[in-house]
Symmetry: D2
Subunit: 345 residues, 4 copies
Amino acid sequence: MNTFGHLFRVTTFGESHGPAMGAVVDGCPAGVPLTRAQVQQALDRRRPGQSALTTSRNEPDQVELLSGVYEDKTLGTPIAAIVRNQDQRSQDYDALKTKERPGHADRVWRARFQHRDPRGGGRTSGRETLCRVIGGSIAEALLAREVPALRVVAWVSQVERFVAPTPAGGLTRQAVDAHASRVPDASTAAQVEARILEAKAEGDSLGGAITVRCEGLPVGLGEPVFGKLKARLADALSGIGAVTGVVWGPADLEERLRLPGTRFHAPRADGTPSEVYGGIQGGLSNGEPLEARVLFKPTSTLTDVAKAGRHDPCILPRAVPVVEAMTSMVLADLWLSFLAGPHRP
Amino acid sequence: MNTFGHLFRVTTFGESHGPAMGAVVDGCPAGVPLTRAQVQQALDRRRPGQSALTTSRNEPDQVELLSGVYEDKTLGTPIAAIVRNQDQRSQDYDALKTKERPGHADRVWRARFQHRDPRGGGRTSGRETLCRVIGGSIAEALLAREVPALRVVAWVSQVERFVAPTPAGGLTRQAVDAHASRVPDASTAAQVEARILEAKAEGDSLGGAITVRCEGLPVGLGEPVFGKLKARLADALSGIGAVTGVVWGPADLEERLRLPGTRFHAPRADGTPSEVYGGIQGGLSNGEPLEARVLFKPTSTLTDVAKAGRHDPCILPRAVPVVEAMTSMVLADLWLSFLAGPHRP
Amino acid sequence: MNTFGHLFRVTTFGESHGPAMGAVVDGCPAGVPLTRAQVQQALDRRRPGQSALTTSRNEPDQVELLSGVYEDKTLGTPIAAIVRNQDQRSQDYDALKTKERPGHADRVWRARFQHRDPRGGGRTSGRETLCRVIGGSIAEALLAREVPALRVVAWVSQVERFVAPTPAGGLTRQAVDAHASRVPDASTAAQVEARILEAKAEGDSLGGAITVRCEGLPVGLGEPVFGKLKARLADALSGIGAVTGVVWGPADLEERLRLPGTRFHAPRADGTPSEVYGGIQGGLSNGEPLEARVLFKPTSTLTDVAKAGRHDPCILPRAVPVVEAMTSMVLADLWLSFLAGPHRP
Amino acid sequence: MNTFGHLFRVTTFGESHGPAMGAVVDGCPAGVPLTRAQVQQALDRRRPGQSALTTSRNEPDQVELLSGVYEDKTLGTPIAAIVRNQDQRSQDYDALKTKERPGHADRVWRARFQHRDPRGGGRTSGRETLCRVIGGSIAEALLAREVPALRVVAWVSQVERFVAPTPAGGLTRQAVDAHASRVPDASTAAQVEARILEAKAEGDSLGGAITVRCEGLPVGLGEPVFGKLKARLADALSGIGAVTGVVWGPADLEERLRLPGTRFHAPRADGTPSEVYGGIQGGLSNGEPLEARVLFKPTSTLTDVAKAGRHDPCILPRAVPVVEAMTSMVLADLWLSFLAGPHRP
């Protein structure tokens, strides 16, 4: 099952150390402005080697559009995009052919497929997320045309014991990217960046949380029973490798669960629905900003096992565009589903 | 989108105040032992009116099997089951025709469907979950035949500020049901039950958490990219009305995220994988017990708004079988998908 | 797999001699006018016992709507409808418990499900088609609101060696139903009706063809590669029990295949596309009337084997509403898919 | 909708005059022997330029496997395969930018997508079928491992007014390929080949029929209601561009429909089910050879309109591997679905 979505469908393929990775996006309507540069720019945001905080692997990851786009507009046909794998160095992984890595899926993967591609984790590699970023960039092109008010922005809200304050509304991706750690608060960012460099030096790894916020959503997106907006997003976000939980609503939601309903549900002073709903009621978007906190485990590839593997001490900064991509793919899909109902703009 | 699952598919229908609720289960193989009494017993576990802790509504909820079963075995054809709505009292809701209830989906539902069934929330009612319990009971009949070692057990692990200690392995549903609160720890249960009665008297409501644990899972269940076991369960569990988060792994997972990877990933003393994985690696079951904590908001129907609505002050005890049902439906579906691969028992 | 359609989804259930048959229609938008009488009227058109030409079984087939409709409008939630089985007389089939009927699926059904419901063929019975008629009637309610110019009309165009002339455009269901044989040509109808009565007296059965025509289709319905309009209809129509072929275009299409392309493709005198296209080009509707001929085998239940089974000597007259229903379900589904593209009316 | 199949899923992409065509096959189990040469060999059978009968375009069509295969075995991950477009000559089509071609989908395509890729028909081009042949070759690799007795063979059974006698059982693809026309009867083949050359000289085109036969099918393949084997194949085969009908059973099926049921259903002398069933009963394979006749229109691109387009005067010989590919894709998909039931080899 390598297809995500019902109407806006993204099928991904590629082993991290095979010839290429890629995605086919089916269901994107015709006439949506889309250039190779747009997709490339999205990939560049998840690319390793952007700062001292990440793996030293250099993956230029140049995308090629094979179909579905003509003269910078979508054709309404499937959009296939591929990225050749270049810096493969499979030999780094030779030592792993017989040794299973703690925290890795090597053992369960072998149970499932009765063999394992030893070349770098095959499909379980974090490199698979570049396919999701391709899908997300095309979803965002569609949403940009059809829901222009929408803003999907994620940021690193926690790394290990360092928790950033919640930013005010109107946060931009530019403001997030201004920090190598993608923590959009200068003071916390400095602490986090120092801690990541320390962990890198120690061959250790760090987990934490990414928060994603969607502003400008139309009211009524999602399906009321199965396919609720929160269920679709939980599916999408939990499907990212290291994610170990998704919690809706404000950063202190779990503390607020210790309040009785009369206080928990109290509307805000301005009469808008309480922010505890995280922008979702009855499974559908309620027009308020949607907010979710996505918990990430520390990466399981530690330097002492695969020192030549050149992995990230903390994947969270690079996971930010992946979280945005999965979110946008869900929204694009639910948007098309919304159109098949009686809601025609 | 009222169908859940790919190979084991459950389609649900019914408004809480219409003639009937029901489910059609398609994809269940032939020859699985299944009686009406089994389905009824599952429904009885979620039925209101079982203790002083729940709503005073009396819903006998007698299920009728319309198809797919003959001489107490499944036929391999769709299994349709219905429950007539009896204690409807729509007049209780007359006052709501014009008034929107805080925390309820009334407003977003109207935006989506351009009208609203005023009779008790329509499909957004918690009563819709009885359809899920029907689906879950049939999933469990299939799993009982094909994965006999499997045990899916959920319990109330937190209500408001009261948190129960994590029970040892081998917990049974009987042990959970021994407490009206479904908190399987006598001391915490007593506190919780007193607090629920207090909230009921005050017309208030309480949230908290349910933990679900699966023991005896085969290794390799789930799909490696989209459709990871954790993603499918996150989708299933987040789709329950009041759920506001799903977190994998042990109860203290979020504290452990404040540890570096070297400590987080340390295997247990006996060499088995760390319990932080919550039984899932690489998106697939790893053979260890799977454990997830499902966060619930306090119910949003407060007595001051709909005093005649006779709602639950704390839905968690009654949500336990719903959490188990959604979990079993996911496992049955992934099990059939597993069989379509090279894994034939 | 008992669900038909992608966006407008019809899930059917029920064994012919179990408690009930039914369908759940999911994906129908809210606000579509729909009454129980409309569905009942559709069922009445396929009901046996309408004339001397059909089985003597009396099946009142009263439909009950269980959900999805309120005050004669759809709610946007799943519409469940059931019909109780009344005239079951399973004892007629007792003799068949050990004897396989030639032409029936008894043997293959047993191979598939490793057992067989002896009560009248289970799901393979022609009675299953009443579920399709329910689905079709709801599809037609949707299309009536959204594509009001559309007319889907089928008729019996051949019975055994009797072939009716092709009727002119604008044919109505009323004109077809004016003949017990549903052959809309008085002279052929008389011959056909005499021949059916003769076959009934002889315990024999007759095959032939039904032609279905859709007038008023918008241009561009269908999917260009997989899911072409003709492919979706071929799937839908070939899925009717006794169908043994579907041929697009005019009645003499097969003779015209003996012409070279220059003559085959010649546009009509008025410049509109040739009628050989049967209203479909490139997989999509071209705005011209769509026409297909659906071939039916003689029924395989012959009186000498199951004389008490009281089957139809010629199912074609009763299959006409089933052909219309399957066609309408495809069109409703493709219509919703069309709306998810850039085509918003 | 560019994905075909439910468990064995083939997603195709590519415009005939864009950078590349390709397919992603998802759901193929791990460990299936598969080489690039196998896929290439399948493509070579549909390639133009194999004889004087076909277009003079030279399309080397070298396939590259991008993922899913390692050391000549499938990995259980998606298999992506692409073919670069080389001999594009878009300038041949410049004249068509403003002129619509009779019989072509240009007009309906524009209605659907509100623009048209003028470069050779985009996705509606017959070149899209190479993606299907890729999918079919992988389906055949799976079936070769799991249903080794199965043989899927198609041949040209009619071209214009020339009809070939039905070959005996055990026909091989080699025997079919021995004739440039793929008519496996020397005398008819000679007539057909002469007629095709004549049509080519005249700038005309020819239609006819391809028959496909499957020997060695297990009993019980298919779904009993929707998803009948015949319905799935009708969908698959009707989805090929020029197909205008699919008829099950022997070549003279339509004549036999003029027989009453007693004669139509008579079993063969050896007691096996009548060949009129075309190998299908109750929607499922009955273990007998399956046979279907697929009707093709003459190609609609005539030389007088696009003389530089270098199209085939008769596409039937090159469509034979496409018919086989679609058939194999359906069988592979239904085979996996069969395994998810209680049928485990």
